[in-house]
């Protein structure tokens, strides 16, 4: 092994018999190394494009959700077609101080901005919840007319992400859009179908006493608070119920909704 010239070492390696242990090990490591480089290279290089795609899709769903609410087109046109984006502090129920939408991602990278949820509070099965959330709203003469709340819950196969639009009374649902889900195609994944989502506008998510009453029914909806369940997707249906109940409840956007009802936001 006196010759350390890499070229001749490489030749010597290639000349080894294929079933020698040294060659087997070196080939295994070389193949693994080259493949790892290839995979991580592709992932890193393409990540910005994928993130931009996801953001564009979310924006498109946001636009479609707002356009689907009657009367919002005019309002949107009057406010130059843009929704206001606000980062809110969930516990205080008001705008977060010193955090802009652009800085939200960095702020959420800090574990101090997350709250661990006690078992009893953790309706949606999240484990922990961010203290800050980016919401969208449309105002008319200082009153909030439409509020768009991002939500996350647990479905059958993974997280369900959604955007819920609430009317100015903070009780009537104006629409729901599912932004991400991994439910079973043909069963749970039907929560993405327009026909199912079309039931949401007009539902009373919160009753007169301020109690969150929204539910995905088992079978047919029987009250103004419910939407029809999806046959064969009980876990997904429950996941949507729990998600909405958690996020409209006291540990979710509850304090914010109270503040808006009092006209303090």
């Amino acid at each position: 092994m006196g010759d350390l010239n890499p070229l001749s070492a490489w030749r010597r390696f290639l000349a080894l018999p294929n079933d020698s242990r040294t060659k087997t090990l070196i080939v295994a490591f070389l193949v693994a190394g080259v493949c790892a480089l290839m995979v991580s290279g592709a992932t890193v290089l393409l990540r910005p494009i994928q993130a931009a795609n996801r953001a564009a899709e979310e924006q498109a769903r946001l636009g479609a959700l707002v356009a689907g609410v009657p009367g919002m087109e005019d309002l949107l046109a009057r406010s130059d077609g843009a929704l206001s984006t606000v980062v809110v502090d969930l516990d205080r129920g008001g705008a977060a101080e010193g955090v802009t939408p652009a800085g939200l991602e960095a702020a959420l990278g800090d574990a101090g901005n997350w709250t661990d949820l006690a078992q009893a509070d953790d309706v949606a099965g999240l484990g922990r919840r961010p203290d800050l959330a980016q919401i969208y709203l449309l105002r008319q003469d200082d009153a909030v007319r439409l509020l768009l709340l991002p939500m996350v819950g647990s479905g059958y196969n993974g997280q369900i992400r959604a955007l819920m639009a609430l009317q100015g009374d903070m009780a009537t649902v104006a629409g729901l859009a599912i932004t991400a889900q991994q439910e079973t195609p043909g069963l749970g994944a039907r929560i993405e179908e327009p026909a199912w989502l079309a039931q949401f506008p007009g539902r009373q998510a919160v009753d007169d006493s301020g109690q969150v009453r929204f539910a995905v029914a088992r079978g047919q909806a029987s009250s103004i608070h419910e939407v029809d369940g999806i046959t064969g997707a009980t876990r997904t249906s429950n996941g949507v119920t729990q998600m909405v109940r958690f996020w409209l409840g006291p540990k979710g956007y509850g304090p914010l909704l109270d503040a808006i009802r009092r006209g303090e936001f």
Binding site: L14, A15, P17, N18, D19, S20, K23, T24, V27, A28, V31, A32, C35, A36, M38, V39, A42, T43, L46, I49, Q50, N53, R54, E57, P185
Partner: protein, 239 residues
């Protein structure tokens, strides 16, 4: 340098190519299109063939992805074929194939986000597609890069032909559209065509594939397999 692995008896129809003649290349490319089609003759890779054929666009993307993976995998494995230790042969092949699949999946996600949502897990599942592994194991491992890639391209295209055929029929009759463009105007859109919902469900792909295999084997009877089992001639069985 050790001699290449001796040309072992071919287990699959494609015999190892020794020379590099143009005719051989052409045969390696065209044989798998119809006469040795991986889907209709060998019934390989039908899981994805059934799952992604509800629309022509998805079938085309899947075909392109599989063809790209099988050609690249065959090329790479053929280049290093003399240095793959036999004891870890399959692992090396799978690692290479799986990495190529991840790269292709990431590219589709970045540049064709809508289609990638429709194809969901099936692009990642190319890693387990028998066609890819079958071609690298039976052909690319024993042949120089050019014929190996020609053979892989032929098999990829053979798979594509079946996918495109089934995808066309399913989309046309299931939704009345082709590539999303209305061809048969459906009743919902004020036309006359009542879409055949069955065509969009998985069983229809089985039926179509069954008819296709039947048609191919009627045209080329030598493709039909001999029966596995011949019932004994017993007295009670006779009329």
């Amino acid at each position: 340098m050790p001699p290449p692995a001796a040309a072992a008896p071919a287990t699959t129809p494609a015999a190892p190519t020794v020379g590099l003649s143009r005719q051989r290349l052409w045969r390696a490319l065209t044989e798998p299109l119809l006469r040795q089609n991986p889907v209709t003759l060998q019934i390989l890779g039908i899981c994805s063939a059934l799952a992604v054929t509800t629309s022509l666009a998805a079938a085309l993307t899947m075909s392109a992805a599989l063809t790209a993976v099988v050609v690249m995998a065959a090329g790479i494995i053929s280049v290093i074929r003399r240095h793959i230790p036999p004891s870890i042969r399959n692992i090396v092949q799978i690692v290479i194939i799986a990495s190529l699949v991840v790269v292709i999946d990431q590219v589709i996600r970045a540049y064709l986000p809508d289609l990638s949502r429709r194809l969901s897990v099936f692009v990642s599942l190319i890693a387990t597609n028998c066609i890819v592994m079958g071609r690298t194991e039976s052909f690319a491992r024993r042949n120089p890069p050019l014929p190996a890639m020609a053979d892989a391209l032929g098999n990829g295209l053979g798979y594509s032909i079946v996918l495109i055929l089934i995808g066309t029929v399913r989309e046309l009759f299931g939704a009345g559209t082709l590539m999303g463009r209305p061809i048969l105007v459906s009743v919902d859109a004020g036309g006359w065509y009542e879409p055949l919902g069955l065509m969009l469900l998985p069983p229809s792909a089985f039926f179509l594939l069954g008819f296709l295999v039947w048609a191919v084997r009627s045209r080329w009877p030598e493709q039909a397999e001999p029966p596995d089992f011949v019932p004994p001639d017993v007295a009670e069985g006779r009329p």
